[in-house]
């Protein structure tokens, strides 16, 4: 199975396997990572904010207006910020490196 490499808020790195039927947010939440995702994944809050490793940013589908707008409600937004509920996982993303943004 494809894998993700995740750095959590304490700086701890871990590797998890993922299923392509789920979004990045769902995968993080289901694996017990501390990610609030208060709207449940419909791009209506900004509580599943992550940073994508620079090597991977251009391999993801571009952000749509909805996601870019929602990021306005997040803090510490960087050029590699994304909302993880808007990232559909696929085989091509095997090895994706991300970091969970501060609360």
């Amino acid at each position: 199975m494809p894998k993700l490499i995740i750095t959590d808020r304490s700086g701890k790195k871990s590797e998890i396997e993922y299923d392509c039927n789920f979004t990045l947010m769902e995968t993080l939440r289901d694996n017990g990572f501390d990610i609030e995702a208060s709207c449940g994944g419909c791009c209506a809050c900004a509580t599943c904010h992550v940073y994508i490793d620079e090597k991977w940013t251009n391999k993801l589908k571009n952000m749509d207006d909805d996601e870019e707008s929602m990021l306005d409600q997040a803090f510490d937004v960087k050029n590699n910020s994304r909302l993880s509920c808007q990232i559909d996982l696929s085989e091509e993303l095997d090895g994706l490196v991300i970091e969970i943004a501060p609360e």
Partner: protein, 336 residues
């Protein structure tokens, strides 16, 4: 003055609204309290335009449509809404309970039904160190009295409707700078073009960046440090008004001595009553083994809760179960 009713429902989301219907069929009157300025809870605030696919008989319905139709459905029961306020305190009385809101509205009721979803919507606060020391002095997340800003220097942060509307409005009598992380805004296009016009005329200033630091300087002014493309700059103002949307928190409910399960209120699955008799909890805020946070589960919980509330409201009466399809009595109540 204390108003009197049968039930106070805390939360005017879909489940709180449908509770009015189920209680209404049993001749039980309701008041609803909600911290938002509108009815519909998360459906209206977070995802009014987004589709919901798991409401029975509705292959697709948006959050706002569901809200509008629930309001229509409960209209015959004339519920009273107390919006823009949060229930702060509850106290036991001989009649039942007195519920008091943060703006001093008091309602006495036989029962309380908590249908507060994920909690109250409260402003999302930027994670700037020590910002809490400046709150309600130099920093305001909501504006109650705009007169204090007259002739002052303000920094408004954010890119949504609140940020833009207040930038446009306060620019009439104050020196306003708007700060946002990008030059695009999610606010209504009308407000955005008005703001841009004000900027062109030099009536307001715009800064691109994110605020990183707040500190006190002389004459009750504050210094704000902001960052744009890794470059730090400073601005000195009288007030900072951050508008970063809303988030949800349990709030005062946590202090009422109800048995909780990880920030959710424990109930039984027969009556949906909490550990405190005559206080009920329905919808996303409650917990029981097997709980699913679905609107349809909340609807089911409303119907069962109403049967038990009936006993508190009419201890001497027998509740005879009837269908709306066949009962003339129920149809009369519904005005159909």
């Amino acid at each position: 003055m204390t108003e009197k009713t049968d039930v106070v429902i805390i939360g005017a989301g879909p489940v709180g609204l449908f509770a009015v219907f189920e209680l209404g069929l049993l001749n039980i009157n309701c008041h609803l309290v909600d911290n938002l300025d509108k009815v519909g809870g998360q459906c209206a605030e977070l995802y009014p335009e987004k589709p919901i696919y798991d409401i029975p008989s509705r292959p697709v319905v948006t959050g706002q449509q569901l809200t509008d139709e629930l309001i229509k459905q409960i209209n015959p029961f004339k519920p009273k809404f107390h919006l823009n306020q949060q229930v702060e305190k509850i106290a036991k009385t001989e009649y039942g309970w007195i519920v008091e809101t943060n703006i001093g509205i008091k309602v006495e009721a036989k029962c309380i039904v908590i249908a507060a979803g994920a909690g109250s919507f409260v402003p999302r606060k930027p994670p700037i160190e020590n910002i809490e020391n400046f709150e309600n002095k130099n920093v305001f997340y909501a504006i109650r009295d705009k007169i204090i800003f007259k002739d002052k220097k303000l920094l408004i942060a954010g890119g949504g409707d609140s940020a833009l509307d207040w930038t446009n409005e306060l620019s009439k009598d104050s020196n306003v700078t708007l700060i946002h992380r990008r030059k695009e805004f999610r606010a209504a296009p009308d407000s955005v073009s008005k703001m841009q016009e004000l900027e062109t005329k030099g009536k307001i200033k715009f800064l691109k960046g994110q605020i990183k630091k707040i500190s006190k300087i002389q004459d009750s002014k504050i210094m704000l440090e902001y960052e744009n493309d890794n470059e730090r700059s400073k601005i000195e103002v009288d007030y900072l008004l951050p508008f970063f949307g809303l988030k949800m928190e349990l709030g005062p409910i946590a202090e009422w001595g109800l048995n909780l399960h990880e920030n959710l209120i424990k109930v039984d699955t027969e009556k949906f009553e909490t550990s405190s008799p005559s206080i009920f909890a329905i919808g996303d805020i409650n917990w029981y083994p097997g709980k699913l946070k679905l609107i349809l589960s909340g609807f089911h919980e409303s119907a069962l809760m109403a049967q038990e509330v009936f006993k508190y409201c009419f201890p001497d009466k027998k509740n005879i179960f009837r269908y709306t399809t066949s009962s003339k009595e129920l149809q009369k109540k519904l005005g159909v």
